[in-house]
Structure formats: structure tokens, C-alpha cells
Symmetry: C2
Subunit: 382 residues, 2 copies
Amino acid sequence: MKTIQQTKLGLLGGGQLGRMFIQNALNWDVQISVLDADANAPCAACCRDFRQGDLLDFDAVYEFGKTCDVLTIEIERVNTKALRQLETEGVRVYPQPHIIELIQDKYTQKQFFRQHGFATTDFEFVANKAALSAHLESFPLVQKLCRDGYDGRGVQILRSADDLHKAFDAPSIVEDLADIDQEIAVMVARNPKGEVRTFPPVAAVFHPEANLVEFLIAPAQVSKDISEQAEHLARQIIEKLGMVGILGVEFFLTKSGELLVNEIAPRTHNSGHTSIEANRSSQFEQHLRAVLDLPLGDTAIVSPAAMINLLGEEGHTGAVFYQNLDTVMQNSGVYLHLYGKRETRPFRKMGHITILRDNIEELQSLAQYVKNTVKVISNNNL
Amino acid sequence: MKTIQQTKLGLLGGGQLGRMFIQNALNWDVQISVLDADANAPCAACCRDFRQGDLLDFDAVYEFGKTCDVLTIEIERVNTKALRQLETEGVRVYPQPHIIELIQDKYTQKQFFRQHGFATTDFEFVANKAALSAHLESFPLVQKLCRDGYDGRGVQILRSADDLHKAFDAPSIVEDLADIDQEIAVMVARNPKGEVRTFPPVAAVFHPEANLVEFLIAPAQVSKDISEQAEHLARQIIEKLGMVGILGVEFFLTKSGELLVNEIAPRTHNSGHTSIEANRSSQFEQHLRAVLDLPLGDTAIVSPAAMINLLGEEGHTGAVFYQNLDTVMQNSGVYLHLYGKRETRPFRKMGHITILRDNIEELQSLAQYVKNTVKVISNNNL
């Protein structure tokens, strides 16, 4: 039996989620190897064994995985055939390949919710744009590409038949437009022994006019009952999946007070970032504990927190410059996380800032201030 | 003017202090290069630009430093002639070379305390063992080698003339044996603009019988008056030095209630480790802020904490094995830090564990339990 320090842990994907995972794994001296197509991916700066290769290529994933005892992911777009093969050969692949496959496709994901009685918006499969005309009476609706949507790409609202021209012409699902009061998310982890722990829910706070997410707030400002329901559902989902690792579960809380499962992601997640500073254990530590079959960590919140994504400004492409960082860093309880990406482009996730404050109103106003002050721009446009 | 992300920061020394510094610097995407003689030093695992070279060699340090905008240290044993040369050529060297030199020699360090009126135990210089016989009437006393003492090496108590045979035969200082009630330490940082911030004092807790340090506790359990005095003295020392960076200041609190400065270290320090989890900003973040001329961070304590050094057990040399880690990790608020050293040997610093608890008695008893449970042994002896 290998010790934690002797276990070779492979990570598919070298982005920011992997980078924060490695920062944490350094504390336990876990040997991590990373595979990513981009030689300058965020993980390359902090990983001794960084290998370049295409995550969708069978051979690249298989050859990489053969050198590992445990294999995990920080992105779902990976070659699961290779993962299935590695699993049969004794590599511990967490999350398990069949679960990654189920979640990679939004249609099979939604079918899973339906089959197991998890409330979700009503949905149907459409094979292409032409097939959408059968749904004219259901407008407005949400169209989501079955595969490869990411960071809001591959999702759009079709309000009326006039929007048909912009519809995706690919296998997708159409969903009812939920009457959303809040969007909340729960991170949940499970280890091979079957131990399960949830993190308290976090919520997206929207700009009152622009209807854009301003920041995340933890804990979500919802009733104890809703909070417990959300944690309970997250636990049921990971148990029903039998998944090992951490899972992000996104919910709509409707205006009538119903919790609908929106989407799940079988990995560390943007919604869990406040856990780095605001919880006893972070989502990254929890995932590490889960895949190494260690006792799971305490997820209790130590301080209310807000999290702001640092996205590239529109109109800026090129070498990145972070405006006014030193200004916001004068405030206590402001924690910067830059992902080490050299180039910015519009809406690219370049980093995040977590803010801790005991008082929720102070927290919200400081978050608003930080959000308005820091800008991710390009040097070229200075 | 280069941005934080464009600044090339060089670090002399690749040990655990450097490793934790880099873990922190990753959050701000600071580009760090490391120089160390050992290709497997703890920093090698998390640093893209790790270079091998002797820190005491002029050319190695000079050539490394020439490629940096800012140069700092994680160990005092470095070639300061090279640093002085680099400083004249415009590299920002923090701490400044003349301060490293002053502190490298325990005699000049003590003279600094005396000259500026900082209370310290009485001391005299002795050139060699023979010169010690002039001090027979002062026994018992402490002999400290002027140079290159480290982790308790180079320091010994001479209780009577019978101990003369074991005295160091090299330039050293002899000090009065203080009547110590507690040993406390303050971390203090200063940036180039002259802003200074102190961390609340931490204290060493000794085993009641064995007279060995069991763990550190933060905050030190001393009166508000003593705590303020210690922070005030630390501030005065760094200001008198005009130093940039973080400085560890160790004090003896005597049984008569007097605070005596014992030693100072111009770098991050073992005494500051609880700040990673227990303070708003860690000592590593604070040092980074200081050397990059950023506003200093909030040092407030968020939770009482204890810190246990994981030292190699006596009788164990070879490939390291950490016994019972998974047992203690079942407890909430137990944070493991392993330094990534492959081989253990007696008393080698292999890692540390920080424990957070609101209640001081609970904290002490959990610290005691963790201390007694985790053992750093060698696989060979299993």
C-alpha cells in the first residue's frame, strides 16, 4: 500500500482549477503530474511534471494515465474511452469515466435527473435547428448544446420564433425558462469509502439593472430550510451517481420557492472558490482527500465571503494588465488569485478575488467596490 | 515601471520557507526564480525557474541576481559581497545586504542591540576556547558561535568549568543565562515607503518535564502590556535597521517580567507559520507585499492557533514515512504542511502542523494529541 506521498496522482487539464489544486497538494507533498495541450497553461508554473498532450486524444490520455496510480480531472472534456481502458487496468480514475460521460452530455445529464426524481426544468431533445420548429408553442425557452458548452457558451434564450435564425444547429436540449429568484450552488464530495460531505450553499448576486452576475456570496442568503434542502439534494445526487471526488451542483430557486437542479459538474468549480479562505477546508483540499481515500475535511464556514471573477474587459486582447490591484489590496480581507494567464481577451477568466467580512452589508458593498475598481485590460490599450 | 506580474523576483534559498513563499506568490502570479545548491530542494517542485548554485559563491549569486529586478532570501547564509555589488547595479535587494551581514554575525547583532538601547542579556566576545577561561566566574553561561549557527546548532550552555572541554573553539559570544519565564516572538515587516506592521506575538510552550518546546501558540498567552511592548520593540528594531522585508524578533520574557531581545532573523521564520491559517495575511504574503512595495496586509488573528514542527525521529535516517497522518486529519482545523523532503534524519524539519481552535484549552490538548500521534520515521525501520 503506497503512502499519500508515494501515490502518483495524474491531473487531466492544466487550467486554474488545477493550479489551485496543486497549490493545495503541495501542503501534503503529493506528487502531481499534469497533462494539457498548452505548454503555458496555468499549472505549468507550479508543477514539476507537466506534460503536453491533447486531452481528447486516446493515446495521449492513455499513455499519461498509465504512469499514474490515481487519475482525476479539472475539466470534463477528456477522452473517456482512454479512461475506461485505464480503469480496467487498475488505475483509480475519479470521477469514474461513466459519470464523466453522463455529465458531458446535457441530455443524458437531464435524463439522469428525471429518472431519479430530481426536480429540474422540463426539457426535450432536439437534433438540430429544423427540429426546433416543433417547439414554437413552448417559446420562450432555453436552448443548450448537448456537448462542449463552457462558461456560458453553448447556452442561449430563444424568446420567440423571431430568434429561430440564431438557434444552434446541433444536438441540443430545449428547456422551459424557469421563473428564477436566485441561483445557488452546493459543492459536495464523496470518498471511496462512501463518506459524503457538503459545503454550505453559495449564491450568485446579480446587478439590479444589468441582470449580470456581480459576485458570489457565501453562505447563500436563503432560509435554513432551502439551504438544508439544497445540501440534501446534492448529497442524494452524488450518492445516486456513486461518484468519487468533488461535484458542483447548481440549482435554480424559483419565485415559488422550488429548488430545481440546473446542472452538475464533476470537478472543482467556480462556485467553490470562497472555500479557500472562508471554510475550514477548501474545495481543492476536499477533492484531494476524496480521490486519495482520506477522511473528508470539515466544510464549516469561518467567515461570510464574496467572490468576484476577474474577467477580461471587452475590447482588450493581448498582454494582460490588472488595473488598481494595489488600491484594493489596501483593504483587509481582500484575497487575490491570479491564474497566471499571459494574455487577456474579452470575458476570459483571468483570476478571482475573495473578500471576507463578518457583516453581510459591509461585505456586499466592499465586493461592489472591488468589482468596480479592478479592471483586466491589455497593455496595448494603455 | 514594471507591474507586479512583470517583476522578476529572485529568491536565494530553495527550502521550506521559500516553498511556502512561492505557494503564496502563485496567487498574485509573481514570477519567481530560485537559486539553491540542492537540485531536490523543496522549492524545486513548485517553481518553473529553479537554478542550481552555491549561495555562498560570489559568481553564482551575482549571475543569478543579475537576471532579477528584486532579490530576496529565505536563509541568511548567502554571499553578501555579491548582493552589495548587485545593489550598486540597481537590483533591489531586500533585506539589504548590510543588514544581512550585521545579522549573520551574532556579535555584531548583539552590539546593534546594545548600541541602540534594546535590552538584551549581557554578553562578551571570545575569540576561541582558550579565551573562555577569563569568564570562569560568570558560569553558568551560554556560548553561541558568531557565525552559521542554525536550528539550535552552534548554541550551548556551559554550566561550570567542567563543561569547558566541550566549548566551541571558534569566534563566539558568551551570554548570561537569562531567568526565562517564556520565549515569545514577533514577526514585523516594513516596505520601502516605510510602512511597518507587526504580527501579534506567538509563544513557545514547553513540555513540563522534558523542557523541550512542544508547540508554538498564537497569540502568546501574555498580558496585553507585554504583548504591546514586544510589538513596539519589534517595530523600533526594524525601523532602526531601516530594513525592507519581514523580520523575526525573538524575545525572552524573564521571570521578573522584563523583555530581552534574544535574536533577530531577516526573513520569514518558523515562528510565523500559524499566520498562514490563523491571520488575515500570512507572513509569506506580508514579505511579498514588503519587497514588492505594496501596501502591507492586515495581521489580525482570526483564530487562536498552535503549531507543531514535524521533526525527524531519532534513530531514523532514510526515505521518510509520516505515521498516523490520516488519523489526525480526521480532526477539524488540523492543517498539514509537508516540505517535500524525501529523506528524514534525526531532528530534520520535515513539515509542520497548524491547529485552529477557538478555545485555548481545547487547542492545547489537541496540539498535545497531534504531537504525540504523528511521527516522522523512515520506511527502512518499519
